[in-house]
Symmetry: C2
Subunit: 328 residues, 2 copies
Amino acid sequence: LSRAEDELVAAIRARVTSSLPQVILGVGDDCAVTRAGANARLCTTDMLVEGVHFRLADLDAEQLGHKALAVNLSDIAAMGGWPLEAYVSLALPRQLAVEGFIDELYRGISTLAAQHRLAVLGGDTTHSPGPLVISVTVIGEAAADRLLLRSAARAGDRLFVSGALGDSSAGLHALKQGHADPLARWLIARHVAPRPRLDCGRALAANGRAHAAMDLSDGLSSDLPRLVEASGVSATVNAEQLPLSEPLRRYCAREGLSALELALHGGEDYELLISGEAGLDRLVEGLVEIGEVSERGGATEVLLSEGGIERRLEAAGWDPFEAAPSGD
Amino acid sequence: LSRAEDELVAAIRARVTSSLPQVILGVGDDCAVTRAGANARLCTTDMLVEGVHFRLADLDAEQLGHKALAVNLSDIAAMGGWPLEAYVSLALPRQLAVEGFIDELYRGISTLAAQHRLAVLGGDTTHSPGPLVISVTVIGEAAADRLLLRSAARAGDRLFVSGALGDSSAGLHALKQGHADPLARWLIARHVAPRPRLDCGRALAANGRAHAAMDLSDGLSSDLPRLVEASGVSATVNAEQLPLSEPLRRYCAREGLSALELALHGGEDYELLISGEAGLDRLVEGLVEIGEVSERGGATEVLLSEGGIERRLEAAGWDPFEAAPSGD
């Protein structure tokens, strides 16, 4: 067999792991086959489209591979689970259907997969007459009685995040401005190579005092209303509590941007947003309290408290159907 | 929340099933959550790209939904398994991100899913600045000791297929010619609405006399070498035994095409190709014997026997990286 598709499949097969104990059969048959455990099974899938979610001018193939897997692992983290397997589907423009590109892309995927001990079990590779499209599906597991659901926030809970907000969107800004100084590069790295908070998610699930969680992909002002609505509660975010990194503060001062606005509305931080008991931040490493959950007579409101004044927090995060390419 | 993406997600949520017993949590959280059984777990994913795998002029949204799920179910059938859940990722051109289109697409998916009792548990929906892309992932299960592997064909086996070959590519020809007579419409239906052979696959797995199987997506001359190579055997196809439907014969006679060529090289029939014991066709309904498997001193050859003369069967099936849109 010397045909183009078979060659690509062979190139990919050489780059994916299938030696992990749960794998019965990896790439090369009609389906991958794995052992099914006794826990709850998790499944999540995310599709990244060139010109919508990324530009190849902004990140290289290895970073794209990392990011496409990381955003799915972030979903597994947000349920309190652990990942087992990933499947990668690619629609490649003809000029990218070359071994060098595939090699780099799978290096990004495999390196992150190895860090979290999941198997990459192939998927599908085809041609695109338009943009590069990469769709990753991740299967994981979680203890069925320890799931961190979006719908389980309770009045009286505190809100926490797993790390600084706004860095990713500042990194995107720096990319667009063409900045390459150390400060910009630090923020760009946060944009192109998000770290899924799997350890934090598992610690939260094990702890039992976290009630609800989700990951922040579109921005706090877009994602928090989803949690609030699913749980039938209201929430207040305290502007003064939002964790802003030192590089973000310095970059925003320099560029005349509002760090608070980026932390509220900037997408792709892939930190976890958690609703749980007060004091959770002393039990699970890395958590920062940012607000509280309340009952407001059946209404599901999201408020921002800033300098003692409360106002409605309006969603202004990123929407692929409204935004121009790369959030322009 | 009145934003475009949330509206689409809500429209999709209303159209997907999550009431099946294995489903703990469907659309609306970071992951879908299901019960994990004791069997082997199967996973397969296929990505269809507008202009490569289909043209919207040739099939409507409901047919596209059916086909995108059917090609994955065909992979589950080819392992001898049964499907449990499907995840659908969509990259939609702006003009198609409307409820009517989504509604039709999910009607096609849901109708086929209901026939085979699998849950459709969401996925991801985003914008495409280029072609429509639909990526479906199906999770299933199989008895771990009854898997129909591609690598398990043995010398002395007979080759079987689960139904007539070539109809789908004749249907594609009819579409391109703009034919709409009853004969053309019958063949077109075989192209746009393939039926996954799940019952046949399960019967084969239960029977125990089938050794290897795969589904025919790219055409016999492309797919059989993959089975032969995975198993380290050789195979001979008998041209006279290939099952050709009466509509295919009549259409080919009328259009000056070779029905044999379409049966050998035409893709997308989604019939099963099986290697197993002689007489299997009397035990499992619908099977037709088409050849035999042999050992040729370590070589992995695929021969075609026609009128008593044997020659090498050259792969001439469809390849997304070599073919122009829709196999033109």
